[in-house]
Symmetry: C2
Subunit: 219 residues, 2 copies
Amino acid sequence: MREGDKPTVISKQALQRLPYYIRFLRGLKEQGMRIIAAPAVAAQLGLNEVQVRKDLAAMSNSHGKPKAGFIIAELIENMEEALGYNNSDDAVLVGVGSLGRALLGYGGFAECGLNMVAAFDADPALTGGRICGKPVFPMSKLNDICSRMNIHIGVITVPAAAAQAVCDELVKAGVLAIWNFAPTHLTVPPDILVQSENMAASLALLSNHLRQRLREENL
Amino acid sequence: MREGDKPTVISKQALQRLPYYIRFLRGLKEQGMRIIAAPAVAAQLGLNEVQVRKDLAAMSNSHGKPKAGFIIAELIENMEEALGYNNSDDAVLVGVGSLGRALLGYGGFAECGLNMVAAFDADPALTGGRICGKPVFPMSKLNDICSRMNIHIGVITVPAAAAQAVCDELVKAGVLAIWNFAPTHLTVPPDILVQSENMAASLALLSNHLRQRLREENL
């Protein structure tokens, strides 16, 4: 973003599409392409053409000359900046069960600007060592470590019953955004963002679709 | 659902709330409660009261007598039936990287009616054994095993570049619903449901919120 510019306000829905655009555009760039038109992006990603044109225009310095197409390198740079891929965010994770371990070991977060620096667990048998290179501390150290390292993102992978207490501790320790994998509703102050990954809800949709389809086939 | 009844049509949003209701209501039942009013549920789960009342009425045999409250056991039973928790769905998983392994080992799916029966991977070094008790087969066996076992749900945990090809193979093998963890858009025939877990998109929201908050604090 050019200095002095008012930051572009991007809708939540548009923000969520950016990682898909970036991935696709990076592929084009690697193939040596320089310019892309909105309809080609829309077709490839299965999105609405008007929406794509609007998204790309918002991420283009020229704000889009309709017939000329968009400059791929410029789109990538602006999208990466909008998502903060360039200045990596440090995060801690609480709960090193199977899902927590998988997230600690997942390489894909680094390229999205998320840097997992430490993990915590309430079970003393799991703390004191390292998982995928990340140190695992007891919960008693959470406040101290988060404050000292200036951590702003907390990832919650504890059971549902423990999630609200963990969330409260993270907020107390200065966390501003919470990524919640526990299947429960979390209550936070108004200036804190909770993004929940709702696996049970996804399963509910899949299972219901299946039952409808199988019912139709049996008719 | 009573026999002969027309199946209740439930919105996608309402379906996604059911797992939260079930978890909360099971807790109340364990504490010996028999009746619950919509406002108490709404307050506890941070949901809109009118919406909760409508959801619970749709899941109640009496369709809700406003002042009397809802019978907890009846709500749980009807919700579990709507979500198919009672007749478990067999699923296969493709891609036994760190996320795939975590999902294979995750105990929480069984209670939601999802039964992971087998996994597949393209890497011969990873196939032939078992992960968390589930056999891991080479991709060449996918069609045969899915057809023979009458599998209707496929879970995709491969890298983005491989996801569409895996999706196509699953659909060819008779899968009707796909749970996609690869960060990419999947194209499927109109009667197949794709439910995507969009981790990069969630991260985009978290990261953007953080940048806004930090900018405000620096003003």
